[in-house]
Amino acid sequence: MRKIESIIRPHLLEAVKTALQEIGVIGMTITEVKGFGRQKGHTETYRGAEYKVEFLPKIKIEVVLPEEMVDLAIDAILKTARTGKFGDGKIFVTPVEEVIRIRTGERGEAAL
């Protein structure tokens, strides 16, 4: 099992969500976040005397998926969230040791 955590442009949320649902993802967690990456967030003023950082609003989508669905999901996110410009966001993939459904106590993939 892996967790896919992707930071995307806020207005593309609907599209990404729909795309994930289309490949069979049934649950996800959404957080409104702020941040900056390589370019978009900061602007340097003339002569570099001042240095200002601006956090930009983004959406974080977290989904935990069985191994075989991971590539599919990454594809779906890439295809939908990419505009080809700075600020498209990132995808982080991390292994997940255990999943437990609180209501029933089920564990592992059955709890997904």
Partner: protein
């Protein structure tokens, strides 16, 4: 300065070759030509000194008579069998020439009548005459017929019949000519059985003529001969008069009491005027010009002695008089036809009503679908208020007015005095008429037709027949106003609703009289220098007070007049997503009822400007403004939930798609497009765009064509990837193919996929792009995008070609361009507004100028209204920032230079103030 026939005759004797002269053919021709030239010039001088239109036409006819007689003499001398021909042939003038009314460069219609047998001698003679006349430079329409053939033609063909009705002998055997007229009278003109078919044919012919040349008198570019109110209307009366009553002239008709003295005086005047205009059009262009084009009108006005005065251009004052006269002609023709051939009982001969004894009082009476007046017009004299009551009754019972009743109203307009206008009960009656939702237009039209409206509202008389030579308006102001009222009426009867549910909104309006009054008065202040809005407001206040409107209601009428341009202005030129803009608008509107009325007024006003002016694009923008303002006014409750609206939209896009799309693809497309895209694009359009994007894939370009026959243009949607100067590239490629861009909507998706929708047409003919052209255009666009088509060079070649063609056209001074900046309208870009007279290649010129300055065009609204283009470009500089003050100055200079602008003209300035 009457025509001096004696002098012309002497001149002819001096210069034209006599029958026996043995000079060379060339010498003959030269003499004839000189004679014609000098006499044309003399006639022109008399005309310019103010000689009547018909007098000049008669003079011309006399000159041509002489030319033809001499030409025939000369030809006879050349023929061997002179006596034979003289006794067996007659040369006869037909049509207008037969009537002795010829405009300076009209065709010469001739009939060579021969006696039947041994026609070959006559035909040799005919050839000689014709060759000479052609060499002289006359345009001759001729026929060579026997009496029998003439009669057959007259029976068969309406135009031949009418031409023959005016037959006049010029030279030749008078007995032959008399035989012809006798036979025609018996077999055709006096033939009772043929009458019905003739009348029917005339009716059809008139219908066809109006369909081709224009049914409305107040056309922007009327045809003096064929349009409604043109000379043909009078000719129609004369032909009918000839056939039904044997009257050949207006004077005859009057003598027979078929037209009244007052009618005769008005028609004589109008006929002379229109004929004079036609003469001037011929003289000043040096050829047969019957269409009064916008180019030509200022020249005509100047030559006919009009001057610019009190804020009206000379051409506007001229055209106003032209419309007045043409209207008289048309009205007269309509009524004459209605009373002679209109009713079923046309066997009864119509006479002017004879005054009856005074004791019998008149009564309004219903007669079928008509309202008529019994016995004289004592009614109005006794009770002037009945004048207005007539219209109320006609409106309520949906009746026409009988001819007698119209006459009676016209004859009693002097009863509409100051006290009549100021009486509270008439004011109330008038407001009642205005309050009948959906039925106001017809009543006002009847009032206008009989001249009552202008009497009752003298302010309205001032805008009657007033034409505005600005760029937008196609109709005169009075016509525009009445059309706006009718557009409103039409809403009330409409079932289906398009995007905006107008019928529902109209039903919400609490006091329709106020709305109708607002529409009636919205342009009342036009026709004076300066902006028309404040003047309209002042006049509207005055009218409201006179009508006895209580102050709260009056204030709302005045509100409508004051802000009648506000909604179209905001919706079409500003970004509606800015909250401050909506808030400001709501503050001005104050109430929902006001908002509703203003929306309806905006619709009525826009759609009455001309056909095709109201369109989906404007509707979508106006709706957006309305919805936003409405939700603010009703406490944040939008009319339809915006969430569910999105779902509905997606559903409709899905339905419009021929193949299945994943919901996420649709969602992504919508998300990556700017907000305004959703506002201005219909689901069907979005579906088409989705297909295009799919087709684009790895291609450089995907294109979709559709033809709009009704707007006579082609909609070209192209999908490609963004790059610097893309729009200039597209515009240039199209221009170089001889295509004109009428409007453009540019959208760039966040992933740099561009979807541009352009409305284009072919420059010659102003018609949709033919299918065989489309593939060529597509190929060039593709080549341009991959760098294999040199756009700049193609434009250069095209410009040179156009310049050559332009050189030959009449001098036309284009109105100079105006460049304006609005740095505040958008948060991210600077808005540049360019107003210029539309010409092919304009969008390219602007776009390439902007590109050359290193600017990015993020959004463009290219819109053409009639011949004024208002092009709005949202631009950023190379770094994606708004323009600095210096850049703006530079941009303005570069644009004006590129558009070769000069000083502003009066009409341009005025137009500016009003928009």
């Amino acid at each position: 300065m009457a025509i001096d026939k004696e002098k012309i005759l002497i001149h002819a004797d001096e210069i034209l070759p006599s029958a026996g002269s043995r000079a060379e053919h060339e010498e003959h021709v030269a003499r004839f030509r000189r004679f014609l030239k000098v006499e044309t010039e003399r006639l022109k001088i008399r005309h310019r000194f103010g000689l009547d239109g018909r007098e000049v036409a008669r003079g011309r006819s006399y000159v041509i008579d002489l030319v033809i007689r001499r030409a025939c003499q000369w030809a006879l001398a050349q023929c061997g069998s002179r006596r034979e021909i003289e006794s067996r042939c007659a040369v006869i003038a037909l049509g207008g020439y037969g009537r002795q009314e010829m405009a300076p460069y009209s065709d010469v219609d001739l009939l060579f009548l021969h006696a039947g047998r041994r026609a070959h001698q006559a035909s040799a003679f005919l050839e000689l005459v014709l060759h000479l006349l052609w060499d002289i430079g006359l345009t001759v329409g001729h026929s060579f017929r026997s009496i029998g053939e003439c009669v057959t033609m007259a029976k068969k063909d309406l135009h031949s019949r009418n031409a023959l009705a005016e037959a006049r002998l010029i030279t030749g055997n008078v007995h032959l000519f008399r035989r012809l007229t006798r036979r025609l009278d018996e077999a055709v003109f006096r033939n009772e059985r043929a009458m019905e078919a003739f009348i029917e044919a005339m009716r059809v012919d008139r219908e066809l003529r109006y369909a081709q040349f224009g049914r409305a008198v107040c056309l922007q570019e009327p045809n003096v001969k064929e349009s409604a109110g043109g000379l043909r209307d009078v000719h129609t009366v004369l032909w009918i008069g000839r056939s039904l009553f044997g009257c050949r002239t207006l004077e005859d008709l009057r003598a027979e009491a078929l037209i009244s003295g007052a009618e005769y005086a008005a028609i004589d005047r109008a006929y002379n005027f229109v004929a004079r205009v036609r003469n001037e059009a011929h003289f000043c262009t040096g050829r047969r010009t019957d269409l009064l084009t916008l180019d030509l009108q200022p020249t005509l006005a100047a030559n006919l002695g009009y001057e610019s005065k009190r804020g009206l251009l000379a051409s506007e004052r001229f055209m106003r008089e032209y419309y007045e006269r043409a209207h008289d002609l048309h009205q007269f023709c309509e009524r004459f036809l209605a009373r002679t051939i209109g009713s079923k009982n046309s066997g009864r001969r119509w006479r002017l009503p004879i005054r009856r004894s005074k004791e019998r009082s008149g009564q309004l009476r219903r007669e079928g679908k008509r309202l008529t007046l019994d016995e004289g017009a004592q009614l109005f004299r006794r009770e002037p208020r009945q004048l207005l009551n007539v219209f109320a009754r006609a409106q309520l019972e949906d009746l026409e007015l009988s001819d007698e009743l119209k006459h009676a109203i016209e004859a009693h307009l002097s009863l509409v005095t100051r006290s009549f206008r100021a009486a509270p009960e008439t004011g109330q009656l008038f407001l009642d008429i205005l309050g009948r939702r959906g039925r106001v237009g017809r009543a006002l039209r009847l009032m206008h037709e009989t001249g009552f409206l202008g009497r009752y509202l003298p302010e309205f008389a001032r805008i009657t027949f007033l034409v505005q030579h600005d760029f937008y308006h196609r109709y005169t102001i009075d016509e525009h106003t009445l059309r706006a009222v009718e557009a409103l009426d039409e809403i009330a009867h409409r079932q289906e609703s398009r995007l905006i549910p107008f019928p529902k909104i109209f039903a919400e309006v609490r006091d329709p009289a106020l709305l109708y009054l607002g529409v009636l008065l919205h342009d009342i202040g036009k026709g004076r220098s300066g902006s028309h809005v404040p003047r309209s407001v002042r006049l509207a206040e005055r009218v409201c007070e006179r009508l006895g409107l209580e102050s709260s209601r009056a204030a709302r009428v005045v509100f409508l007049v004051r802000h009648h341009l506000l909604m179209s202005h905001l919706s079409q030129r500003r970004d509606l997503t800015e909250d401050a803009l909506i808030e400001d608008f709501v503050r001005q509107v104050e109430t929902l009822d006001n908002l509703n009325m203003l929306l309806l007024l905006t619709y009525a006003d826009t759609s009455a400007v001309g056909p095709g002016v109201w369109n989906e694009w404007k509707e979508a923008l106006l709706w957006e403004l309305y919805v936003r303002a409405r939700s603010r006014l009703t406490g944040g409750r939008p009319m339809r939930g915006s969430h569910s609206r999105r779902a509905v939209l997606k559903e409709r896009i899905n339905r419009a798609l021929p193949i299945k799309f994943l919901p996420s693809e649709i969602e992504r497309h919508l998300a990556m497009m700017p907000d305004r895209y959703l506002r201005a694009t219909r689901p069907e359009g979005i579906a088409r765009h989705l297909l295009l994007v799919k087709r684009l894939d790895a291609q450089p370009l995907a294109i979709d064509w559709r033809t709009h026959e009704r707007e006579s243009c082609t909609e070209l949607t192209l999908c490609t990837r963004d790059r610097v100067g893309l729009f200039a590239l597209i515009a240039g490629t199209l221009t170089a193919q001889g295509l004109n861009i009428l409007s453009a909507d540019l959208y760039t998706r966040e992933d740099d996929i561009v979807i541009d929708t352009l409305k284009i047409c072919e420059v010659p003919g102003h018609c949709p792009v033919r299918p065989e052209w489309q593939s060529k255009v597509e190929r060039h666009l593709r080549d341009a995008l991959i760098g294999q088509f040199d756009v700049a060079a193609a434009i250069h070649t095209w410009r040179a070609k156009v310049a050559r063609r332009r050189g030959r056209r009449a001098v036309h001074r284009p109105a100079p361009a105006v460049v304006r900046f609005d740095p505040k309208a958008s948060t991210a870009s600077t808005v540049i507004e360019v107003k210029a007279e539309d010409e092919p290649g304009l969008a390219y010129t602007i776009a390439s100028t902007l590109t050359a300055l290193g600017l990015n065009i993020t959004f463009a609204k290219v819109a053409t209204e009639k011949n004024l283009a208002v092009d709005v470009f949202y631009v950023t500089d190379a770094r994606g920032q708004k323009l600095t003050a210096e850049t703006m100055t530079e941009v303005e200079r570069a644009l004006l230079e590129a558009l070769h602008g000069e000083v502003k003209t009066e009409s341009m300035r005025r137009h500016d103030e009003e928009n």
